[in-house]
Symmetry: D2
């Protein structure tokens, strides 16, 4: 039994994580901490069966945990990671604190200096299908952002193979409201979102942009500029990314599909659709899968990729458990819906 601790269990990612771990046959939650709801029981916060006492972060019995998940905000995660590692446990951080390799880039986008730069060198970017080997040996995993997961998985095989040309990729993406967090605000009020659809942070300003550009540059071995337009969908969960790419003109749809199939052969959580089908949220919601599809954009070398994930599962807590499974040598699908 792997003994698991959770910080930030009353956020959406934290609660999703707890639900996944509850059906994981080899994990046991030893503590669930919440700054906002310490002292209450979890089923007073979320309707459901979890009659679990929430502790304050200070009370966390780190010495009892083999692995600790940080479902805490950026800035708050890094100091917790220091404590977790010092206590001898492994750590999976779901915040952005260890995703950017360059602390200067972090400081520029998150507007404060990095709280634990000494850990950046060993942190592994936990896009499991790309970095499985490194994850297996990691003490500290930086779990990818939700949008980046949906964008990087379709692009990785194509960039790695040198199939893409041009210096810019346009990503038009849409996320369910859980991606905006559990804090009630005018923007997440039901009446603001229902019957509505809206863009936000479009262009080159969303904080997931540097994370995606960092990874794309590594996969393609050259810088790529992203144009990124996220939208807020009137649903609770799911991300659909529509990606406009330019491939080498001699490559057809079948060639690109073959690159996906080679890169992801045997991957339990990658679902590659046949030509003519397009990925939808319904393909993936509540599962840890990423569904991938591609279509011609009407001219040689121009293609549209559509990629779908559940932002709370493959885009957050599901991938975090997938990484835990890899870190502890377990079967990678344990606890997760394929």
């Amino acid at each position: 039994m792997i003994r698991v601790g959770i910080y930030g269990v009353t956020g959406y990612a934290g609660y999703e994580l707890l639900q996944i771990l509850a059906r994981h046959p080899q994990a046991e939650v030893v503590f669930a901490a919440s700054e906002s709801y310490a002292g209450q029981r979890l089923n007073q916060v979320y309707p459901g069966p979890f009659d679990l006492r929430l502790i304050s972060p200070e009370e966390a019995p780190l010495e009892q945990a083999d692995v600790v998940f940080l479902c805490t905000p950026h800035g708050a995660s890094a100091p917790l990671a220091q404590k977790v590692l010092a206590a001898g446990a492994k750590c999976v951080d779901l915040s952005a604190d260890f995703r950017l390799r360059d602390p200067a880039v972090y400081a520029a986008w998150y507007e404060h200096t990095h709280p634990a730069p000494e850990l950046l060198g060993e942190a592994v970017y936990g896009l499991t299908e790309v970095y499985r080997t490194q994850v297996a040996g990691a003490r500290l995993v930086a779990n990818p952002g939700c949008y980046p997961t949906s964008v990087l998985l379709p692009l990785y095989p194509l960039l790695r193979a040198g199939a893409l040309t041009g210096e810019r990729i346009i990503v038009d993406a849409a996320s369910g409201v859980s991606g905006a967090g559990a804090k009630p605000t005018p923007k997440t009020h039901f009446v603001s979102v229902y019957e509505n659809y809206s863009a936000y942070n479009v262009g080159h300003v969303h904080r997931h942009v540097p994370e995606m550009e960092q990874e794309l540059a590594l996969y393609g071995k050259k810088p790529l500029r992203l144009v990124f337009a996220p939208h807020l969908l009137p649903v609770s969960r799911g991300i659909l990314s529509t990606i406009y790419i330019q491939a080498r003109p001699e490559l057809g749809a079948e060639d690109l599909l073959a690159l996906w199939q080679q890169a992801y052969a045997g991957e339990p959580f990658i679902q590659i659709l046949e030509l003519g089908n397009l990925a939808t949220l319904a393909h993936v919601v509540h599962s840890n899968r990423c569904a991938l599809s591609l279509s011609s954009a009407g001219a040689p070398g121009e293609f549209i990729l559509v990629s779908a994930i559940d932002n709370l599962v493959k885009g957050a807590s599901g991938q975090a458990v997938q990484n835990m499974n890899v870190m502890f040598g377990l079967e990678e699908t344990l606890g997760l819906l394929v």
Copy 2:
């Protein structure tokens, strides 16, 4: 009082039209025809206050109408337009039958020869803000498609001014389910759409593509290729188009905004948002407005336009009434929500 006839009143566009006309102070519905529901009363088809007998298309008393709206499918509209004009009434066709100026293009995209090519010469494309003068003198108006309305209104002022470069424009658009029509299908079943989001007909295959390319070429005086990715939103109504453009590099956001403001000064149905705000469905649903916004895409000359309309109002029946108002010399906003 303008005497109005409607064919196809039990489709979504037809029913929306009837609701608009019911609050129009100078219009009176003299007949409402429905192939599927002839003989029934309208409030048996749609819950609501309209206790109106539906006639069959054959019974339509054309001689009593000053103007007739065709809310009928493409292919069916053109022969009706011939009858309407022969009876001496004006005609606003909400189908695609008279939108494409070239019958060969029509035949290629709609897969049958044009049923009334002799009328193509006089049909006016009813994008009111662009073709107001021609609409005023028209006997036959081809009411624009819903996606085209949302795409052409933001692009017209920029193309007309020669502000755009490049030969390709990417449009990522999302529509509410009423855009798919009232016919029940597995794809429009509530359970298929709720909690879902999906792309369809992406690339260069949606039938609104030739309509948009025709108009864009006229506005910019050179051909432009569209890459078009429509999506199905889990809402009933509204279209949001996110448009990726390349402007001449010396032009800033304020310059493009100024082009919009000049082109649309005094327009009651065009709402230009200040920089920093983005158009949403909530800006426009149930109104005849088109909300326009623009943002930098992060590099000189690259911009993202976001445009929103209600697909059933400005994208169909509202614009049809706006055109009727222009055709009969009435105040253009009569019956419509600004």
Copy 3:
């Protein structure tokens, strides 16, 4: 032109009221006050076309108004009503402050003493169809609650005619989320409501209970106990009340229907459905109508009434404007969707 002032314009009822008044041909808004957003423009709070400066309540130029609407919380409304009347304007209060005739009942349910008991004598309960004559002569109208409007309109004709027996009525009602107000809370977060349905304040505890019991006793000339179970619907607007009644056993469905038809003959906002049809939210949303339907419950004298309104229109701001129209001798439907 009637000069109108609004306090509390940035709540849902206030914003709906402003939208209605914007299309009212004989009303002009002279001030729009908001405690929370004073100094901002209305279109910065709600997406839409209203580029209107919000003033603080203290700045309100009461002397310029013929009528003032109070879209403010209970407790805050009563002192404002005193000021409005002192300034010589008429007043329509959308809060609960003047709905209960007995200040002791008010104190018991709202947990503070009534702030202006001297006005209770002249306040008219603004259920227009029931109290039209009194509304016409009123200086101060207490606009009914949303649930009460949906419950009292179906019961008034039956109670007035002595058609009902028993001492208890069960009302199972469901409201859209706008009924919970614009303040963001965990309960109104999109993710809490979407895909969910829940009961709240069931039994005899909701604050609309004494308001309904007061009126029912007046209509039927004897006390009636209400069992009231409100529910939260995952929609933005609308109330559907399902009401379980016991009629005198000799009365059939047609008899009850006849009582409705007599009581509401000529009423523009009451839609009585034929037997076999049931009222739905789709009948009434965005209109000022109340749709009424009735069915047998399977035993003599037992019936189920289903009543639907838009909580923001007939349940709040629409009825408030209807009352204003009556108070100023205007056509009752002005500005309102029938």
Copy 4:
């Protein structure tokens, strides 16, 4: 490994069943039959990971199955049950064919004579918590209807204990759209349901009424008349039943709660909420739980019960698997979310 066959796998209950069985550690699907989609693959019908060939009902290799689930319509199920039992397999029927013990009642409500009356004697009504012993020994289980499950589970302990008085119970219930089946109709079109809420079949006419009255009479050892008002919720799944009861006047809320706790001690799928909390769809969606809550209705002996289930899980396929687990002596929670 239990070898499982499914008829009607492309209905909502059938597809849900397949998803549950896919994560059941001791079940293996040996055939999946569909009348409408025979010859296609399951992932062509529903987006998702199931690349499974659908066979026609005639091809079903009954001899390979230990148990067969009938997710077929009433009338069609009974003849299939005959074949399944003749082939030596056990049978769980999700239709209404074996729920009513009296074939005359069946004929009256379903408007045709019972196709297999000889099996009625041995069929066990599969409300697992009530009939577990009988289910364990059954060859043929009649899986309960969705509404009945949500209504009978809260009432069983109270009736069994003789706690209720009166001859009538009012049930106001609301179901997600999947309860209406996968067939596209005008009533299940997204646009008809979204933003809407409606009652249907109210009174004593819904086909689940005789099923509930049959069971209630058995539990309470006297006939009880049901007044039943089902509603259609704008969500995909879930049933919430609000039940108005009259208990013996000396019984308080704690007494009734104690009856629930005694009856359901140790039940993995019954969640009894503390007083002051109310069951919601969010408590149960995607799980096989039934959440139960109770409140005073404001007078001695009057209470309101609120009960929630997922109509596709505890209300259909989840309970069917629960029954299978009991029939084969497996741990009852296998494959199911607690």
